[in-house]
Symmetry: C2
Subunit: 316 residues, 2 copies
Amino acid sequence: MTAADPAHLPAGSARRSPGRPDLPAGSARRSPGRPDLPAGSARPHVLAVAGSDPSGAAGLHADLRTLFSLGVHGMGVVSAVTAQNSVAVSGIWALPAAAVRGQLDAVLSDVRVDAVKTGMLASAQIVADVAEVLAGPVAAGIPLVVDPVGVASTGRSLVEPAAVGALVTDLLRLATVVTPNLDEVQQLTGVAVGDSPEVRAADLRRAADAMLALGPRWALVKGGHLPPDEDALDLLSDGTSVLELRSPRLPARHTRGTGCTLASAVAAHLARGLDVPAAVRAAKAYVTGAIAGGYGIGAGPGPVDQGWQGAGGAGR
Amino acid sequence: MTAADPAHLPAGSARRSPGRPDLPAGSARRSPGRPDLPAGSARPHVLAVAGSDPSGAAGLHADLRTLFSLGVHGMGVVSAVTAQNSVAVSGIWALPAAAVRGQLDAVLSDVRVDAVKTGMLASAQIVADVAEVLAGPVAAGIPLVVDPVGVASTGRSLVEPAAVGALVTDLLRLATVVTPNLDEVQQLTGVAVGDSPEVRAADLRRAADAMLALGPRWALVKGGHLPPDEDALDLLSDGTSVLELRSPRLPARHTRGTGCTLASAVAAHLARGLDVPAAVRAAKAYVTGAIAGGYGIGAGPGPVDQGWQGAGGAGR
């Protein structure tokens, strides 16, 4: 690991933030759509704020593979380190809030960021700091995708209880898109989605509305946890436009990292200039392929394959 | 980020270590060459132990992109989190030794590991723990690539002074390959390589011999920091076979992550079954392309491009 050495820079170039020397002047800070950049310009930059999973299935690893596959430069602020494998979570170490802020500041003071995705934010202080630091970039038009990670599917909470409250009070109002599953909808809003097919679509709308009341511009409610006898049904809504996204339910065993992959793919496509519905559709198609390509690595469920399109993937 | 849920596993499959349900019985723990696996079998698994760089240029990010590009499942134990960007390192937070050990145990108790690569190990205790945990896998034939990261090129030490001593006493004797640059050779052995071309090759042999005296099976001494008027010259030696590896010195500005990428590529190719000289040659070719594809992201030098081979990549 080699850190940059300012002494190696040509004179005068040591601090030229936040522009890029290889881009024409004036193009350094753009709205996320990037319509003003000629084809072939430098790749978009996407920042993930996430926990790490040493077995490489979920969290930061899934985020980075997704961003790389979709042709963007992926960056990653570590909010927590977990010890986990395909069977269980055996340890969680939240980073000090100062370390999370230090990482964010290091990136934002030097690198143009075209979209941000947040995942596991282990403590209320980390949520509050992330929200405070991102308020400026979001106000400047940088899209923010919030994956409101709470409880692991093993039942172990990945975040302290107060962190859930801080998501509601501090972060969700900044989000361009929030991507809860049904458990997270219930945790954040109290709205439960019923199991019976006839109430499902209406319940999903109610869930999306409850999420939108917390302030994000769009809510993508993932119905993947509904009974397995039907297609998977997700609902994307901004309160006016409501899209039902159906996909065939795959008989997949290796699905770890699905949520991280979807949220990162949405961020990647937003950074590439798609609008929210188009970015979500593209991300859904990508994650469906990744689930189909999932592979085992241990005794339990393995990761989805972010490289199913080939290492280059869409847009490279 | 979704953790695995044992409740979703079919009865009886919850703990079947370390085999893979999709591999024939008896193939779960193999020597790294994998000659016993039929073509088309599951991808190799490589574990990196590294620091993280939030700007996504060096450390764990570079490792994971390299492993992904070379068609192996990459895993990552976080040993330290840094705040850095293309200009400077502004903060370092070493993980508690228990967190490093917890991550290692989570991976090794569940996932077959075909090669290990270590990078930034921030404290003597972390080095000692990593060495203790890896002693068994190394004795069982799992190759270990040690990138003896010490001082950042900014001049800021990335590890505590005692960690350098622990590398020497605890870890290097386990290494299949150690990949120091000339600064690291001097730090670890006291041997300085001269700047004048006529003494260079002989000095590199002396440097490699000094490294081999610390116990690794092979030493790859990277001469990249020699005066820029000549080809880059690296030397690979096990004390008997000595290979001089020349490559054209590229006029590259964006070279962050070069060392991480090289060491991870060596580990990936060892996990794929190449012997050390072949793995090093393949890794050198890969990193040379990555350097040529390097791209700017901030005011200072940017990362090399691990995706330069585009879709497919070596071995995918």
